[in-house]
């Protein structure tokens, strides 16, 4: 099987996104900021329930 991009000049945008560690960093950042950390802030900022 051949790769259509064999021996071809790779566009700069693709070169940028072919860096595994850069993509990994971005993926972790978005998930941890918007889901995990924001979620934890929501939980820990809940007021204590007043029991009857």
């Amino acid at each position: 099987m051949t790769n259509p991009q064999d021996n071809q000049k790779v566009p700069w945008g693709q070169q940028l996104f072919e860096r595994p560690l850069l993509l990994l960093g971005l993926g972790l950042l978005v998930m941890f900021v918007f889901y995990t950390i924001w979620g934890l802030i929501e939980i820990f900022s809940l007021p204590q329930a007043t029991l009857p």
């Binding site: 693709q14 978005v30 934890l40």
Partner: protein
């Protein structure tokens, strides 16, 4: 790369790829264990189907929850992730003609994963972990159960890091020039989502292990938040791996064309950035989370990942259409589809996977993932109805389809029971679709997920169940059993092929022997440039466009109907 290493590589007679035998062995081992886990999962599934079908109601409550735990872990985690590890070893180094940088690391990781899976299954079989896949506190399992999951996760994370190393080292050594192949890029996407997933796994299972031995307190809401960063994201690894396999199968079965590299790669990047947020769907009715967090994570940002799925859902079939047109099937709008190799299980599995995932899984997922609509679906059978058509009808079926090519290309064995193999994707795909539809409608009638007794026979208050539920349970049961038969057919074919299958030889390929898919007998031309390609690109993909608009119409109708049903909850005036 040194010549002595290259000499040990096997050159694939079909694809021309240079295969590092050390990577090949790890692919085989991971794939074999994946099939074993699948067999355990299917066996448990039969018990579950025959219990939730109230007319049969085979298992008692304790065994039901034990089987449910076993089914969830073996299907959603062990089968899928072992297979994905095989996919990673295939994507790099095999697809990039490179070497495996540290084979011993691969073996250590494999051992950790196997030991972890055995520990978990043993605890479940012994009745020390009847906590379901979710293991929500305060349900507590034996500490060895949590330790098993941690070992499995560490092993999987090691494979993923090894994969990153493989990409970087092979690029540096010049194993491939130009850009990374699209399939490898899809696998990279899956690997990154795997890191996100496994880090959440570590964040929640290490404290839970400490909680299980009495060293730590556990907050149920924090557990749910972090657990779903693992529980749902693990299914997003599947999506990325499945899409990568779609592109691979399209190329190898019909010479599928990549419509636009930029678009497909951008869609993968959207997955990396936004798909894991879908974990928030599971917390949509949790009082601890605010509306802004819920809406952002399940709607605005997450829709960018939905956009990515819709892009792949268009580019893969359009690539198949263009590939078929390049092969000469140019008459009319659907000649390319009619004359596709429907008796090739690799192709039929691919198409069924795209349809089931997109039409049934995608539409239901986006709809019930909407915060407002979720209130009429949450914790009902609609949810497993949705994920059985995505994970099973989509991912598992794609994995089965690619297995029909892995067997001759990697195991170098002809596919056993070839006649049965041609039927298997249809039996499995149609069965799981019927089951998913049954579950979805049962959920619409308020039948809960997970619960042993849908009738609530011993509840202190009477629960009215709509009479249609009995019929739908039969639909669900028949579909589930049909899918189980399809699953067992797959296991039989895979096991017999691997251990007793005839070897693939040049003569067998040249004579068109049974057990070899058409793409192995004659690899379709992989045409990426030239006048002919420009011509088919210019002509577009009219057949796929029609299918896409049918899809969008179904989406609009289903979405509207759900809002309409929601409006019945709060009658005004």
């Amino acid at each position: 790369m040194s010549a002595s290493i290259l000499e040990k590589f096997r050159v694939c007679g079909v694809t021309g790829l240079k295969v590092d035998p050390k990577a090949e062995t790890l692919i085989k081992m991971n794939a074999v264990v994946a099939v074993v886990c699948f067999l355990i999962g299917v066996s448990a599934a039969i018990g579950l189907v025959l219990t939730r079908w109230e007319a049969v109601h085979a298992l008692d409550a304790m065994m039901y929850y034990r089987f449910l735990t076993l089914h969830g872990l073996n299907m959603l985690i062990f089968f899928i992730i072992f297979f994905e590890m095989a996919v990673l070893y295939f994507a790099a180094p095999v697809l990039i003609n490179g070497r495996l940088p540290a084979p011993f690391v691969g073996w250590i990781a494999f051992a950790l994963m196997v030991i972890g899976a055995i520990m978990v299954d043993t605890m479940v079989f012994q009745g020390k972990a009847d906590v379901l896949f979710t293991s929500y506190p305060p349900l507590k399992a034996d500490p060895l159960y949590y330790l098993g999951i941690i070992l499995f996760a560490v092993g999987a994370l090691t494979v993923v890091l090894h994969f990153f190393g493989s990409l970087i080292i092979n690029k540096r050594e010049g194993s491939y020039t130009g850009g990374m192949p699209l399939v490898t890029f899809g696998a990279l996407t899956a690997a990154i989502i795997a890191v996100i997933t496994l880090l959440h796994g570590a964040l929640i299972y290490i404290p839970t292990f400490l909680w299980s031995i009495g060293l730590l307190e556990m907050d149920a809401q924090v557990y749910r938040l972090i657990f779903w960063g693992l529980g749902h994201s693990s299914q997003q690894i599947n999506v990325a791996a499945m899409v990568a396999i779609w592109y691979f199968l399209a190329a190898i079965t019909v010479g599928g064309v990549v419509l636009n590299e930029k678009i497909s790669r951008t869609a993968f990047v959207l997955y990396i950035l936004f798909i894991s947020m879908a974990s928030a769907h599971h917390l949509l009715v949790d009082p601890g989370m605010g509306a802004a967090w819920k809406v952002w994570n399940t709607s605005y940002a997450m829709y960018l990942a939905v956009l990515a799925s819709m892009i792949h859902g268009f580019t893969v079939p359009a690539g198949i259409e263009l590939g078929q047109r390049l092969r000469g099937y140019v008459n009319g709008t659907f000649d390319w589809l009619r004359r596709a190799p429907w008796s090739d299980p690799g192709f039929s599995g691919l198409v069924l996977s795209v349809i089931i995932f997109g039409f049934f899984g995608g539409i239901t997922g986006v709809t019930i993932g909407t915060e407002q609509i979720n209130i009429i679906a949450h914790n009902t059978l609609r949810i497993p109805g949705h994920f059985h058509v995505t994970v099973v009808g989509g991912t598992a079926l794609a994995f089965m389809a690619v297995t029909y090519y892995v067997l001759p290309l990697i195991f170098q064995r002809r596919v056993a029971f070839w006649g049965m193999a041609k039927l298997q994707p249809y039996v499995f795909g149609i069965g799981i679709t019927i089951m998913g539809i049954g579950m979805s409608f049962l959920g619409s009638f308020g039948i809960p997920r997970r619960h042993w007794d849908s009738t609530f026979a011993n509840a202190p208050f009477p629960v009215e169940v709509h009479p249609a539920v009995n019929l739908l349970q039969a639909v669900f049961g028949i579909g589930g059993l049909m899918a189980a038969v399809g699953g067992l057919m797959f296991v039989a074919i895979a096991v017999v092929s691997v251990f007793f299958g005839k070897r693939v030889t040049k003569e067998a390929i040249e004579s068109g022997a049974s057990g070899l898919p058409p793409g192995v007998l004659k690899l379709p031309a992989q045409t990426h440039s030239g006048v002919a390609v420009r011509k088919v690109h210019d002509a577009g993909a009219p057949g796929t466009m029609i299918l896409v608009f049918i899809f969008l119409a179904c989406f609009v109708v289903y979405y509207f109907v759900n809002w309409k049903v929601l409006s019945f909850l709060w009658k005004i005036g």
